[in-house]
């Protein structure tokens, strides 16, 4: 794999949460949420990150987009250390989609405001002649891209169903023209029939914009369907990593094997 193709590289990433005790709040022990993780994501790739609750997968996602500071380790985005990038610049490259569509949109703001804000931010550095009207047009285009009619810009989040809200969240991420999207359990709180719609949308967007994804999930079926490569996480460490089909067919780590054998098989 040539390194020009590398979009993101993570080296020995650690996040320890201190457990503070006593009046002087000294850390007496650490919860090693992420404990020395290294991996990379190539351009145009979907990398799966699976693990059970508490394995540290969400913590990795938050560190990548700058919501948490790593205790140790480096995150290189296109060979640049993200810790030296300003958050506003980083946001243009790396975006995140959340699990819960009901809390990922501000209930007090209209859809147009939520997405329009991202559109405006994105254009801040370029031409400033983007007037209100242009922002509105761009917002409507984005909504159509994610499969919603443009006229919903004046509606508020509570007027939408879970799947539709997830689409709005995706549109907000897209508005920043990102190259890598961290999708943290993007479908796990959606109904089965809606899950498939969103998974298809994500893969369409990948083809259309040449996006890459880090797909964080506990759902091994989703990973099997979507990801080219997969990492299995447990207790803050990556226990197995590889091409999805080979990991699924010949798991090497006993934990991966246990995980895979726990999926209820469909008689299909």
């Amino acid at each position: 794999m040539n390194s020009n193709n590398r979009l993101l590289e993570v080296r020995n990433l650690k996040k320890w949460f201190g457990v503070e005790r006593g009046i002087f709040k000294r850390s007496v022990s650490n919860i090693k949420a992420v404990d020395g993780v290294s991996f990379h994501i190539n351009k145009g790739e979907i990398l799966g990150l699976v693990g059970e609750s508490g394995s540290g997968k969400t913590t990795i996602g938050k560190m990548l987009v700058g919501l948490l500071n790593p205790t140790q380790g480096t995150i290189l985005f296109k060979d640049r250390d993200v810790s030296t990038m300003k958050r506003s610049r980083l946001g243009l490259k790396l975006q995140i989609i959340f699990q819960n569509p009901f809390s990922s949109l501000n209930p007090k703001l209209s859809v147009g405001t939520i997405i329009g804000e991202a559109v405006r931010l994105n254009n801040r550095t370029g031409d400033n002649k983007h007037a209100q009207e242009n922002v509105m047009q761009a917002t409507k285009r984005l909504l159509q891209t994610v499969g919603l009619p443009g006229h919903v810009v004046n509606d508020y989040p509570h007027q939408f169903s879970g799947g539709q809200r997830q689409r709005i969240g995706i549109a907000r991420a897209l508005a920043m023209d990102p190259e890598l999207i961290i999708a943290d359990e993007p479908v796990s709180s959606l109904d089965i029939s809606i899950q498939a719609q969103i998974l298809n949308l994500l893969s369409d967007l990948k083809d259309k914009y040449g996006l890459s994804y880090l797909l964080i999930t506990h759902d091994l079926n989703v990973v099997r369907h979507v990801c080219e490569r997969v990492m299995v996480m447990r207790n803050g460490k990556i226990v197995e990593e590889g091409v999805t089909s080979s990991v699924y067919n010949n798991p090497e780590h006993p934990y991966t094997e246990k995980l895979l054998s726990s999926i209820p098989e469909l008689p299909l």
Partner: protein, 342 residues
Amino acid sequence: MEKTNIILEIKNLSVEYRKSNKIIPALRDISLTLDKKETLGIVGESGCGKSTLAHAVLKLLPETEGKITSGEILFREKDSSRIDILKLADDDLRKIRGNRISMIFQDPFNSLNPVFRVGEQITEAIRIHNNAGNKSKGNDIELRNRVIKLLELVQLPNPELIMDYYPHQLSGGMQQRIMIAMALSCNPDILIADEPTTALDVTIQKDILDLLKELQKKLGLSIILISHDLGIIAQFCSRVIIFYAGTVMEKAPTDELFHNPGNPYTKGLLDSLPGKSGTAAGEHKRLKVIPGQVPDLTDLPDGCKFNPRCSFKIDKCSGKEPGFIALNKNHVSRCYLANELK
């Protein structure tokens, strides 16, 4: 179908919720039967009414909001007499609840009272149903032993210790085992499991479901397993009922449902599942999807409730709602085209 084998029969059950002057038809005209010692699966998406059904069976709907508008829930007692749970007086209803029919819920942590020890919570159920009002010493020791036996039954280590724990001191999987022990404390005939593993990790989910399966064999339980996960249903249920928008779409034996679905909705659900074992991993082909959204119960379409999203739709689908059409003796589907889908 052998009539005598039916332990629970629900006939034409309808439930409405009332919220700020809106009437929400949560369940419409549900009929189903549960055989002795079988596991019946109920599948559906959010808001389809599957949990409402579970609560309605024991009349646990929130008093001010939920109202059972019609129907019968017939429970066959050990002496073969049938009683309609909906017609029971409160005192008699309580003799059914937790005693003959018990339940476990989705979120074990919130389902256990945080301020009482788990042993106490189990004991309470036993005490209520055995009319063991006298708290004599011998009785207490007897009860304690019974609780320990139950905890052993659900395969918890160190039951003597664990029974004096508070819920927050246990992991999710252990909490659900406590819930199961509590549900089984009075040797019920029926166990209703409402999404019992949704809040748990996949490896724990497997342990819990295996435990339920084992207990069912051991104790001869009849189980209603409610889930949104078709995989779980496929593995643990002998028969499946598909819910959609408060009504039953299809009832069939599990194998038949998965291999020969008789309803476009069921077919759509099966097609939209990612990661089927047959497909090569990482292929990420587009999934076949059911278009549109899960319908709003206050604004249901005319005719078949699935018709706006259905790819097989014909004219009469939006006219009169179809009744059940039999594909065979054990397999019915609410679809005009039930027999022509293939």
